[in-house]
């Protein structure tokens, strides 16, 4: 008979025999691992549907999201009393298609010209938003589509399909030629 290590236990062997080590009986579930900007369904809340987004960075900046619980803009990597306390967003759903687009929005700083704006007190600071329409880049904002929900209902959503389109933190440049609308170029990091 041969004994092999398994989930939750290992063996420590010596010349006098072996012992079973059960110090980690309940290791982290590998399937629960996440990635930057991963969108996670939280569930229905009244006539609304909530979601959250795993923290990531745009040009080394952690974006914010409108936290529906506190009604404030909160960093995606919020920690409260030493414990991860990710903010919760609320979907804005298209009344015809039941779709909701999740974007990472960022703009250029009016004071330094930097993209994105690192001043969290301005609207140009990177922010995750839910939109009930498709959004297009403007001189003010660049939009990266992180994912899209297609819900079972507009007025009383309880479930839906989530498609994820971004899987890493990003680095971006903003370039504008003459009077053309600014263009935004992103690279995954």
């Amino acid at each position: 008979m041969k004994l092999q290590p398994g989930v939750g236990y290992t063996f420590n062997s010596s010349s006098s025999g072996f012992t079973i080590d059960t110090a980690e009986q309940f290791p982290d579930n590998a399937s629960a691992s996440t990635f930057p900007f991963q969108i996670i369904s939280v569930g229905a809340s009244g006539s609304n549907f909530r979601y959250r987004v795993v923290s990531g960075t745009l040009n080394n900046i952690v974006p914010e999201i409108d936290d529906v619980v506190s009604s404030t803009e909160v960093l995606l990597d919020r920690v409260t009393s030493g414990i991860a306390d990710p903010p919760i967003g609320q979907l804005s759903i298209n009344s015809t298609t039941n779709e909701s687009w999740i974007y990472l929005r960022a703009g250029v700083s009016g004071s330094t010209g930097a993209f994105p704006d690192s001043d969290a007190t301005t609207s140009n600071y990177p922010k995750v938003i839910s939109s009930n329409t498709v959004l297009f880049d403007t001189d003010t904002y660049g939009y990266v589509l992180l994912g899209k929900f297609t819900m079972n209902s507009y007025s009383a959503p309880t479930s839906g399909v989530l498609n994820q389109y971004v899987g890493s933190s990003l680095w971006g440049d903003r370039l504008k030629t003459g009077t053309d609308t600014a263009r935004y170029y992103y690279a995954r990091i």
Binding site: N59, W171, K176
Partner: protein, 158 residues
């Protein structure tokens, strides 16, 4: 500590897509050539672009968006048409560079521009290799006191 890429004031840092490339400037337009610039952001006041709004090229002097060569000061890769004499009509067309003999465009780009048609206010010319060779550049037989470059190949002035 890692380097922050794409920062406007750091000529030695590694760079992202935007800072590896530059617009081709229009040397016939005076005034500022950048409207706004900051880390990972640049707004070009003038230059040449495609219909799609792009037209960026890679250069050996692409340390940062302004395409500053580090040798002299200047606007980087460019095309400039300079009116010479009215009688006989003669002017020069060239891609100026700063301080070195290798030019502000890589050889591949220079080769692609050679043979393209440059539409000027004084007429059209076919760009030849002389356009990239200082100090005389390309001589062409036309004159317009207020010479302007309308387009170069697929690139249109803006």
């Amino acid at each position: 500590m890692g380097l922050f890429i794409g920062e406007a004031n750091d000529l030695v840092s590694p760079s992202t897509w935007g800072s590896l490339r530059s617009i081709v400037y229009n040397g016939n337009i005076t005034g500022g050539y950048l409207n706004n610039i900051g880390d990972n952001n640049v707004e070009y006041a003038h230059g040449f672009k495609t219909v799609a709004g792009n037209g960026f090229i890679r250069t050996d002097y692409s340390a940062i968006y302004e395409n500053f060569s580090g040798v002299g000061s200047g606007i980087g890769a460019n095309f400039t048409a300079v009116p010479g004499t009215d009688t006989p009509p003669e002017s020069t067309f060239g891609s100026y560079y700063n301080g070195t003999s290798s030019g502000m465009m890589v050889a591949e780009d220079r080769a692609q521009f050679t043979g393209e048609t440059a539409v000027l206010s004084s007429g059209s010319i076919t760009i030849d290799a002389d356009a990239f060779i200082a100090p005389y550049y390309q001589i062409y037989g036309a004159y317009d006191y207020s010479e302007a470059i309308i387009s170069i190949g697929k690139l249109t002035a803006f």
